[in-house]
């Protein structure tokens, strides 16, 4: 439905987006995820036509729209600030796109009613935007886009100004609505939880480049670059030397499919397990997260490990403890290299 090819944007010699290529299937919800300033909003605005691109092309439903201005593209965008027009009523806001198209008045009225019903705001036609709560305003902004039946719906951090509870609710509603209507959607967020929950696939961006595209589980389990690995979820990280395919992770010897040099080894907190033959340390801190506990372990070598452990395994602060990694990720020069899944960890008594 939507395809961008090597889309590029430079602001005053600063590359905001570099050769971004990705595709969105019909009915799919894609999240553009990345830290602030990574270019995700600029990429979205280029798709909308609000920021002209410097190079590359955009194709929507088989048509090249690169040279078209925003008002001639079959996209509609929900802004972070909701951008409702406070000199118009809710109905006038929602009907704007239809009035521009010059549709008949009764057709417009019916569509507006339907759009407001979809977002759960039936009967709000006469209200003023100033009389709406933050959540309601964002729903009206969504209805204003839905009513023009865009081929691609664009959302620029639409929920980031709202409080956490409301955000979660709106996310669920949006996901349900998007499934039901089969909306092709590009959703920009810096919140990985939001992206994980909403997205069919996630496009991770950093410093203007697309790092990885994949389903949420792929990104979590198989991050292809060090940046993605660090950005998504928590990690225990250590950079160690590799000598002839061997490396030493806090005293645990591992085989790495990398050339001699430095390698960064990462281990998710839930991929640690107690093992009397493991890395020795002491419990420094225990934080009760409810379903699990987050345990901070100070190893004998002076490193710090974060371990997510089941309630049943709960240690006490100060207690000695030994852990082994059951799964590691390895990166050399930012790119992923193989580390065999560790079934029988070997420990070295002496650091090389």
């Amino acid at each position: 439905m939507l395809r961008t090819v090597k889309l590029t944007k430079t602001f005053n010699q600063m590359t905001a987006v570099a050769e971004a290529s990705f595709a969105v299937e019909k009915g799919e919800l894609i999240c553009l995820l990345g830290p602030s300033g990574c270019g995700k909003s600029t990429l979205l605005r280029m798709i909308a036509g609000l920021t002209p691109s410097d190079a590359g092309s955009i194709e929507i439903d088989g048509q090249d729209v690169t040279e078209r201005q925003a008002n001639k593209r079959p996209t509609a965008m929900v802004f972070q600030s909701h951008a409702l027009w406070n000199h118009m009523s809710v109905a006038q806001n929602v009907s704007f796109g239809l009035r521009v198209q010059g549709l008949a008045r009764d057709v417009i009225a019916a569509k507006v009613t339907e759009a407001l019903r979809l977002v759960g705001l039936d009967g709000f036609e006469k209200r003023r935007p100033t009389e709406l709560s933050g959540g309601q305003a964002q729903r009206v902004a969504l209805a204003r886009c839905l009513v023009v039946e865009p081929k691609v719906l664009l959302m620029d951090e639409p929920f980031s100004a709202l409080d956490a509870h409301l955000r979660a609710n709106l996310r669920e509603e949006l996901k349900a609505l998007q499934r039901r209507l089969g909306l092709t959607t590009v959703f920009v967020t810096h919140d990985q939880e939001e992206a994980m929950e909403l997205a069919d696939r996630i496009v991770v961006m950093n410093a203007g480049r697309i790092e990885q595209i994949g389903q949420p589980a792929d990104l979590y389990l198989e991050p292809q670059t060090l940046t993605v690995a660090r950005f998504i979820g928590q990690m225990n990280e250590a950079t160690v030397p590799v000598v002839r395919g061997q490396a030493n992770w806090l005293g645990q010897r591992v085989a790495v499919g990398a050339a001699d040099g430095a390698v960064t080894l990462l281990c998710r907190p839930e991929d640690l397990r107690r093992d009397p033959a493991g890395i020795a340390g002491r419990v420094a801190r225990v934080i009760d997260l409810g379903p699990v506990l987050r345990v901070t372990v100070a190893t004998e070598e002076g490193a710090t490990l974060t371990w997510l452990c089941a309630r049943a395994d709960a240690p006490v602060v100060g207690a000695p403890l030994a852990l082994v990694a059951t799964r590691l990720l390895a990166y050399q020069n930012g790119v992923r290299v193989a580390v065999p899944v560790l079934t029988k960890p070997q420990l070295e008594s002496v650091m090389p």
Binding site: K72, Q80, W85, H87, F96, C145
Partner: protein, 268 residues
């Protein structure tokens, strides 16, 4: 912060300020409705609208008022027509010299207006434009520019770009976006700038005196001549009649102009 608990000092300050700020105007208000007010009575001994009838029945009073209204309306409207689009350009478009030009409009404020009017009067004398309707209109437009550039520029700048983008994104042409979104959003501030300029010009003595007199007599010139007269009430009635409606209009504009905004407009 320590806020004083007893407002006694505040009350004294309020009383002093009240007397100083409102006393003079109150005196005029009373005079306008006084038929007889002789020393040393604190209030008039006879009230009434006698002098209102006197004033309103005199063509030498009505004519300057109509002249002023015509001059001021034409000058303010013309100024709005040329300044508002310029303000939009300053706020939203990129063009060479934008900062410098905007600044030159604000800096014109730093020249005493009376000396400007003297220089214009000399030029107009040579051109035979002194005492002409359009001569006065031109000079009054100059007075209006002050309000009509910086207030609207700040207003257009204050409209979040996302509001316009949202309309553009939904298929509206740039003209439609301007007409349906930008203009209504800026309207309160534009109206405020119009009223401010209108009232300022309406009561401006300097330009009327140097460029208009003696052929064109405006309302403020009439007030100037009435002020020195023995019959106090005539000028008082004129003051109340013209100024009170203007004051009410100005109060309306206050809602759209924050104190901070005014202070910033003067470079604070």
């Amino acid at each position: 912060m320590r806020r004083s608990k007893t407002p006694f000092g505040g009350l004294i300050l309020l009383a002093a300020m009240g007397l100083a700020m409102l006393g003079p105007i109150m005196t005029v208000m009373v005079w306008a409705f006084a038929v007889k007010w002789r020393y040393p009575n604190l209030v008039p001994s006879e009230w009434g609208l006698k002098y209102w009838h006197v004033i309103l029945g005199r063509s030498t009073v009505i004519e300057p008022i109509l002249t002023s209204l015509a001059l001021t309306s034409v000058a303010t409207t013309l100024a709005a027509l040329i300044c508002w689009p310029a303000a939009y350009a300053f706020a939203r478009l990129q063009f060479p010299g934008r900062q410098l030009l905007l600044f030159s409009f604000i800096a014109a404020n730093a020249v005493p207006k009376f000396t400007l009017f003297v220089s214009i009067a000399v030029v107009f004398l040579q051109l035979g434009m002194v005492g002409t309707f359009w001569g006065v209109v031109m000079v009054q437009m100059l007075s209006a520019i002050l309000f009509m550039i910086w207030i609207p520029t700040a207003a257009f700048r204050g409209i979040p770009p996302a509001l316009e983008e949202a309309g553009f994104d939904l298929g509206a042409s740039r003209l439609r976006v301007f007409w349906s979104i930008t203009l209504p959003q800026a309207m309160p501030a534009l109206a405020a700038s119009y009223v401010l300029a209108f009232v300022a010009i309406m009561f401006e003595v300097d330009s009327a005196l140097l460029i208009g007199a003696p052929k064109i007599t405006t309302m403020p010139l009439l007030m100037l001549s009435l002020s020195a007269q023995v019959i106090v009430q005539e000028a008082a009635v004129l003051c109340v009649m013209i100024w009170v409606p203007c004051f009410a209009l100005l109060l309306l504009t206050r809602r759209f102009m924050s104190s901070k905004g005014i202070a910033q407009g003067f470079g604070a």
